[in-house]
């Protein structure tokens, strides 16, 4: 008897020693992927810049330097370390078309871009999750109405639909965010619906139902937490798309309005200077590219890390 008990305890202890949570596994797998780590590092730097922009930016991003410093409009970068004369004021990324410090504007742009990415995706995830969950869980005509509406939204190219929405609401950053949020709802709704459809047939859900759990309880406490994984991947990749779309809208003059330091609008307002002042075109473009790349790398890494079929790889 004593012997038996001891074995059981050992088994239990052995099990608990081996068991690691899904998130720990995911982190471990994520850190083993170099591309995901690079993405995380870039994003970490971006977040740091966004949080500390007001301290690290050498100038006010809206301050016109005419009469303040001896600088010319659209002057190329002046970096003392690279041989720019010491008596000239240092402007790492040059001067923009309105005689403002381009580097400070780029730094503040980071804040705006990350804000755009996170807020639109959060908005889309919340609405998309609710719609997808209701659709998947209840089925029937609710499913039909919601998913057919989503199909209609998906039938339009997302940027065109966003342009149409902004045209109706009027140009501006908030409206652009709303538009991008709305057009990205369907992809989240579909992902959640698919997960819910598979999860709701599982035994533990039936068990909860048998125990008398309410629909809401089953949906939000049993099903949704288990349908979260694909949403995280989709969300991370979605941030990249949202940033790109917001930059595109601003480039077209429908998003952030001047003088807001938004990368897309900075790029758009200097688009005719691609040969005469290339730094004003390429630097905001490079910033957009870097951020989108970082989110894509991280998103890809997360997808691989969260995919149980790839478990043997790690």
């Amino acid at each position: 008897m004593d012997q038996e008990n001891k074995l059981q305890t050992l088994d239990a202890e052995g099990l608990s020693l081996k068991s690691v949570s899904l998130w720990q596994v995911t982190w471990r797998r994520l850190f083993r992927r170099r591309s995901a780590v690079i993405g995380m590092v870039i994003l970490g730097v971006m977040v740091l810049i966004a949080l500390t922009a007001q301290w690290i930016a050498p100038y006010d991003p809206l301050k016109v330097l005419i009469g303040v410093e001896d600088v010319k409009r659209r002057e190329p970068p002046c970096i003392h370390l690279l041989g720019c004369p010491a008596d000239k004021p240092q402007h790492i990324a040059g001067i923009d078309g309105n005689v403002r410090d381009e580097f400070s504007r780029l730094l503040y742009g980071t804040r705006l871009s990350l804000m755009v990415g996170f807020s639109t995706v959060t908005f889309a995830i919340i609405i998309g999750t609710v719609l997808g969950a209701l659709s998947g869980y209840f089925g029937g005509w609710i499913d039909n109405i919601i998913m057919r509406t989503m199909d209609v939204l998906l039938a339009f190219p997302s940027l065109l639909l966003a342009i149409a929405i902004v045209t109706v609401l009027g140009p501006g950053l908030i409206n652009a965010l709303l538009a991008i949020g709305i057009v990205s709802i369907p992809s989240y709704a579909r992902v959640v619906r698919a997960s819910v459809l598979s999860v709701r047939e599982m035994d533990y859900v039936s068990a909860t139902r048998a125990l008398g759990g309410s629909n809401m309880q089953i949906l939000f406490r049993r099903i949704l937490p288990n349908a979260l994984t694909p949403l995280i991947v989709q969300g991370t990749l979605g941030i990249a798309t949202a940033i790109l779309d917001a930059a595109a809208l601003s480039f077209l003059g429908l998003g952030a309005q001047p003088p807001t330091p938004e990368w897309g609008s900075m790029l758009g307002s200097e688009r005719n200077q691609v040969f005469t002042a290339p730094h004003l075109v390429f630097l905001p473009g490079f910033a957009i590219m870097l951020t989108v790349l970082a989110f894509n790398l991280l998103g890809d890494g997360l997808r691989d890390a969260l995919d149980p079929r790839l478990a043997h790889v790690s």
Partner: protein, 588 residues
């Protein structure tokens, strides 16, 4: 049951999509007309909340003209009729007599302007639709000019072919193509690639590139234009003259010209460029004085500034080569010098012109004017005449001397009158003149007789594209329509000028007038009766012969608001109205 419900839903959805597709007429207008509450700060509302004075109950005007095919006349001048023209009479097939209500020293300069081009009488009648000209009338004008419209691919190009029966010098190129792009860098790339022969308005930063390139040439265009900040005095706080004066003194105009304008530009000392006689009579504009401006604003009751909007259209014009940058600079100056928060609102070009012209913009707006004909009346009468709505109500102190000045031929005699007018404009600040902008036209180096008209009315029949058969011209924007009797847009007028002709025309690359469809127009002693001997043997593109009845029919179409043929594109007939006065009396 489920199937039925699904079918019903599908039908509703398809129907609503069809409705949405048919209902929206203008997709390009950013004006949020239906949902201003959701985005109060982001969209220009089409119906701004205006004080009651901004929207008086409209009483329709009464037509007063009689027209019988050879004569167009009003019974009497005055008595409610404020126009210039008393009658236009075809004395015989080749003579037209214009009788004016008051002497008009600028008659020849005005009559040469392209909106007053002559159309054949039958065409005028056949293309008059119920509300507007028919699409034939709007897109395929019939004139007597060196080129005929052969095809207008909307959104892409307009192709013209040479008129084989042209009465004047035959066009150098058999085919003329108009294209457009709003991006100066794109226009330059096309020229460098050789896909176009010339383009309007290179970016100021590209002047040096073009001059350094041996395969290209640059023609500088004199600054016969003005860029101004407009405001409508029926909207608060611009109804307060002190606010307007404060803004006038609180903007560093020299900084704008120095930073954003190309060589050949200058700060505007008066509304009209000084190369025009009488333009600069009176005191020069206020000096930049931020302290005085701030004090004035405080005196007006806004010590902490106020919030407003700064409207503009993102199109390049000679008077405003870098519109977005200038707008941002003005925005930052307003904030810095006067603590005025101006939110930038970019509008679609057509909507912007319509809203600003009707005085419906409730903030500051950036607009300008290029000379159509080289006379002070073209600047002052159009903008500050009694009928103008774009700045709200024009005070009598401004419009009275302007109206008087328009009847005096001798510049020396007119000087005191224009001194009074210019000083009143300076005092009452209906707008703030900023700059006279120099601009340029770029061509391929082998183009012979390159043009850069100070009136932006290049006549391409006289320009040889290096021996090639096709001359491809690229401008900033597509023509709005080619029925230019009822257009004001310079890009449209230039296209029309290749096709239609007026009684007089402007010299190439200059502003002097010389006879075109008229061989001469001679005035009587007090400049109130002008007798025009018409050119004989001229035929329209449709084969009909040009004669005096066509001239009378054209002016009947433009001036006689009671005529069934008085239908155009916008139906504002702005140039006919501002330069001659429509034949009408106020109703009621």
């Amino acid at each position: 049951m489920n199937k039925k419900l699904f079918a019903l839903l599908s039908v509703i959805m398809i129907a609503s999509m069809a409705l949405a597709a048919c209902g929206g007429q203008k997709t390009e207008v950013p004006a949020a007309t239906d949902e201003p509450t959701t985005a109060p700060t982001d969209a220009p509302t089409a119906e701004p909340t205006a004080p009651p004075t901004a929207e008086p109950t409209p009483i329709p005007d009464v037509p007063i003209a009689t027209y019988d095919g050879t004569s167009l006349s009003v019974a009497e001048c005055g008595n409610g009729y404020t126009g210039f023209i008393k009658s236009v009479v075809a004395q015989d097939a080749n003579t037209v007599v214009f009788t004016l209500c008051k002497s008009d020293p600028a008659f020849l300069s005005k009559i040469a302007f392209s909106p007053f081009s002559i159309y054949p009488q039958e065409w005028i009648e056949s293309t008059a639709g119920d509300e507007t000209r028919t699409s034939e009338g709007l897109e395929h004008p019939v004139g007597t000019g060196p080129y005929m419209v052969s095809e207008w691919k909307r959104g892409e190009s307009v192709t013209f072919t040479a008129n084989p029966d042209y009465w004047g010098e035959a066009p150098a190129a058999e085919t003329l193509v108009f294209r457009w792009s709003s991006e100066s860098a794109a226009r330059l790339l096309e020229l460098q690639a050789g896909t176009i022969d010339g383009f309007d308005n290179p970016g100021p930063d590209d002047f040096a590139t073009i001059q350094a390139d041996s395969t290209l040439q640059l023609s500088l265009r004199p600054a016969l234009n003005v860029f101004y900040i407009g405001m409508t005095n029926t909207f608060a706080p611009f109804d307060n003259v002190k606010v307007r004066q404060a803004i006038a003194q609180g903007i560093d105009r020299q900084r704008i010209v120095d930073t954003f304008y190309p060589v050949g530009s200058e700060v505007a000392s008066h509304f009209t460029p000084c190369s025009i006689p009488n333009a600069c009579d009176g005191d020069a504009w206020y000096d930049f004085d931020p302290a005085a401006a701030k004090a004035l604003l405080a005196e007006a009751g806004f010590p902490d500034g106020f919030a407003t909007k700064l409207y503009f259209r993102d199109v390049v014009r000679g008077y405003l080569p870098q519109v977005s940058s200038v707008a941002q600079d003005i925005q930052s100056q307003l904030k810095e010098n006067l603590n005025i928060d101006a939110e930038i609102v970019v509008m679609e070009s057509g909507a912007f012109i319509e809203e600003s012209g009707a005085g419906r913009l409730d903030g500051l707006y950036l607009l300008g004017w290029g000379a159509d004909y080289p006379h002070i009346t073209n600047f002052l009468d159009y903008h500050f005449g009694q009928a103008t709505q774009q700045f709200g109500a024009i005070p009598a102190a401004i419009y009275e001397p302007i109206a008087l000045g328009a009847t005096i031929a001798d510049p020396a005699e007119a000087a005191p009158v224009y001194t009074e007018a210019n000083n009143a404009i300076r005092e009452l600040v209906p707008m703030i003149p900023i700059a006279h902008g120099g601009s340029a036209v770029a061509y391929r180096a082998d183009v012979v007789n390159p043009q850069a008209s100070p009136l932006t009315s290049e006549s391409f029949f006289a320009t040889d594209p290096g021996g090639r058969d096709v001359f491809v011209w690229m401008q900033n924007a597509e023509p709005i329509s080619m029925f230019c009797a009822d257009e004001t847009d310079g890009e449209s007028l230039r296209a029309c000028e290749q096709v239609t002709e007026a009684l007089y025309s402007y010299e190439i690359n200059g502003t002097a007038t010389h006879p075109a469809l008229a061989e001469s127009c001679t005035p009587n002693e007090d400049l109130t009766v002008w007798t025009c001997a018409l050119r004989q043997g001229v035929t329209f593109h449709d084969g009909s012969t040009f004669d005096a009845a066509d001239v009378v029919a054209t002016f009947n179409m433009g001036l006689n608001i009671g005529s069934p043929f008085h239908v155009g594109n916008t139906n504002l007939w702005e140039y006919y109205d501002y330069l001659w006065g429509l034949m009408k009396k106020p109703g009621g």
